[in-house]
Symmetry: C2
Subunit: 285 residues, 2 copies
C-alpha cells in the first residue's frame, strides 16, 4: 500500500495498534538497495507490520549538497517493498511534512538538535546542521507512525548513534535496531550515492574499505595506538581519492581515544569523482 498523507498512515495503522500488533518502521530516502532490503528483512522478522518511509528530507541537506539530484525512484522502491512483504510505503511530499511554502530554517521550524559532542566530528563537521535535520525528520516520523521498533543501518554509524541518543534523551517510546552494513562483493559499502559513480570511480572507491580492513588487521596484530593505526592509511590514498576524515572513536559515545579497543570503530569519508562516500568498521568484531 502506498500512502502519501500523514493522516492516512495514522488511520491505516490504527486498527493494527488496537489489536496490539507491533509496528516496525524503516526510515529511508528511497533509491533502495540490498542494504535497505536487509533492514526490511530484519523488520519483517521482528514486527507484525512493517512500514517503509521514502522521503528525501530537504532539511538534512546543506545548500551546496545534492538534494535536487539525489536519486528518486519511487516506482521501483514501491515494487521492491511489495516484493519483500512491506505492508505500507509512506512517501509524503515535502509540503506534507513541512507545510506549503516552508522555508528550510530554524527561524520558522521547531528542530530537534542532538548534542554537540556527537555532531562536531565526522560527517557533522563538514555537514553543519545535517544531524539536526535528520533528528527532526526522524522524530516527526516516530510521532506520525508511533512504531514499536525502528531500523537503521550501521553504514551511517554516526546517525545511528545520534538517533539512539535522541531516543534516550527524549524518552521516545521506540526501540532502535541497528543492522549491519551491507557490501558489494568487491567490498564497496552499498549506498544510494554509488549510482553517481562510473565503473572507474567504483574501483577507486574500494580504497575506503581497504584502509578500514588494514586498520582492523593492524589492530588485531596488536597495534592499539590510534595515531599509528590512522597513519597506515596513507599508502592506500592517491590523487583520485580525496580524504575528508579518518578517525577511530568509541563505537557508542564517539568519544576520542588514544588507544583503540574492541569497542572502537574506524570511520572514513572520501570524495571520489566528486561523490562523497562514507564507510566504517568495528575493530573488535
Amino acid at each position: 500500500m502506498l500512502i502519501k498523507k500523514i493522516k492516512e498512515l495514522r488511520e491505516y495503522l490504527q486498527p493494527y495498534k488496537a489489536d496490539n500488533e507491533t509496528i516496525g518502521l524503516v526510515p529511508t530516502m528511497g533509491a533502495l538497495h540490498a542494504g535497505h532490503l536487509s533492514l526490511i528483512k530484519t523488520a519483517k522478522s521482528m514486527c507484525d507490520r512493517v512500514v517503509v518511509s521514502v522521503f528525501v528530507n530537504p532539511i538534512q541537506f546543506g545548500p551546496n549538497e545534492d538534494y535536487t539530484k539525489y536519486p528518486r525512484t519511487l516506482d521501483e522502491d514501491y515494487k521492491l517493498c511489495t516484493q519483500n512483504g512491506v505492508d505500507a510505503v509512506f512517501s509524503p511530499s515535502p509540503a506534507e511534512m513541512y507545510g506549503e511554502g516552508f522555508i528550510l530554517s530554524n527561524n520558522n521550524l521547531t528542530y530537534v538538535c542532538p548534542p554537540f559532542n556527537y555532531t562536531d566530528k565526522l560527517c557533522g563537521k563538514s555537514r553543519v546542521g545535517h544531524f539536526d535535520g535528520v533528528c527532526t525528520v526522524v522524530n516527526k516520523l516516530f510521532n506520525i507512525a508511533q512504531p514499536d521498533f525502528a531500523f537503521f543501518g550501521e553504514k551511517d554509524a554516526q546517525q545511528l548513534i545520534i538517533i539512539k541518543k535522541m531516543v534516550k534523551d527524549l524518552n521516545i517510546p521506540v526501540e532502535i535496531i541497528g543492522c549491519p552494513l551491507i557490501r558489494e562483493e568487491s567490498g564497496l559499502a552499498l549506498s544510494s550515492r554509488n549510482k553517481y559513480l562510473s565503473d572507474d570511480g567504483k574501483r577507486e572507491a574500494l580504497v575506503l574499505y581497504k584502509i578500514l580492513q588494514n586498520i582492523k588487521k593492524c589492530y588485531k596484530q596488536g597495534i592499539t595506538d590510534v595515531a599509528a593505526l590512522k597513519e597506515t592509511a596513507f599508502t592506500f590514498l592517491n590523487n583520485n581519492v580525496e580524504l575528508e576524515y579518518l578517525e577511530i572513536y568509541d563505537a557508542d559515545t564517539l568519544d576520542e581515544l588514544t588507544k583503540a579497543n574492541d569497542n572502537s570503530r574506524a570511520f572514513i569519508a572520501c570524495k571520489v569523482e566528486d561523490v562523497r562516500l562514507i564507510d566504517n568498521i568495528k575493530l573488535g568484531e
Copy 2:
C-alpha cells in the same frame, strides 16, 4: 498516587490506555495555586485520567535565575491534587529526567529547539535558551505519559504558543488546550513567584494589570496604532517597577504589528522587588 519513576508512570497508565481511556497531562513546576487548579478542573472535565507532573526543570533556568530558590512544596501540591481528583502526580528527580551527573548543556543532551521567530522576543529575549529547555522537558513528558490532551495556562502565553508550534512542527499526537489566566481579586495574575513578594510588592505589582487593562480600554475606544497604545503605559510606571518589555503582537504567531486588531495580545514583563513578573491580555475579548 505519587509516582517518581518514568517506568512506573508508564506502567500505571498502560491499562487505562489499553481500555481506551483518555489521558490528560497538566505539566507544572509545582507550588500549585488556583491557576493550576483551573487547569486540573478543565482536564478532569475532558479526560478519563488526569496526571499532574511536578518538576522544577533545571534546563529552563538561566545561570542567574531562581532555580535553586524556586518554591518546592510537593507535600501540599500532592494534597491539592488528591483533593481535586487527580489520578497521579508525577514528580521525578532531575537525575530521573536527565541522568545522574547530567550537565545542563547542549554538549551532552538532545534539545528540542523552537524557531527563532517565536523565541527572539518577549521572555525569550532576556531568558536565552529558556524555551529550548521548556520544549525539551515538555517533549520528554509527552513521550513519557503519551497523553491525549495537555493543558497549559494563558498566563505563560508565549510558552503556550511555542508548545502549540512544537506539536504542529513535530507531529506530536497530543492536543494542546490553553486555559485562561487566573487573577487574584486585586487583578494580580496568579504566579508561583508571587510568593517572593512582600505585601507592598504585591500592591506595586498591580501596575502590570493596570497597564494592560488601560491598553485594552484604549483599543476598545478606537486607538489601534501599536506605538500609541504602548505609550499609554508610561503614566503608570514608577521607580518601584522596572519594565522589561511591553509589546503588542499577533496572539497566534507573535508577529509584529503596526495596527492592533481583535486577535492581538499585549504582553508585559516587569521586575518588582527583584521578582520577575509577567502578564498579558487579549485585546479583542
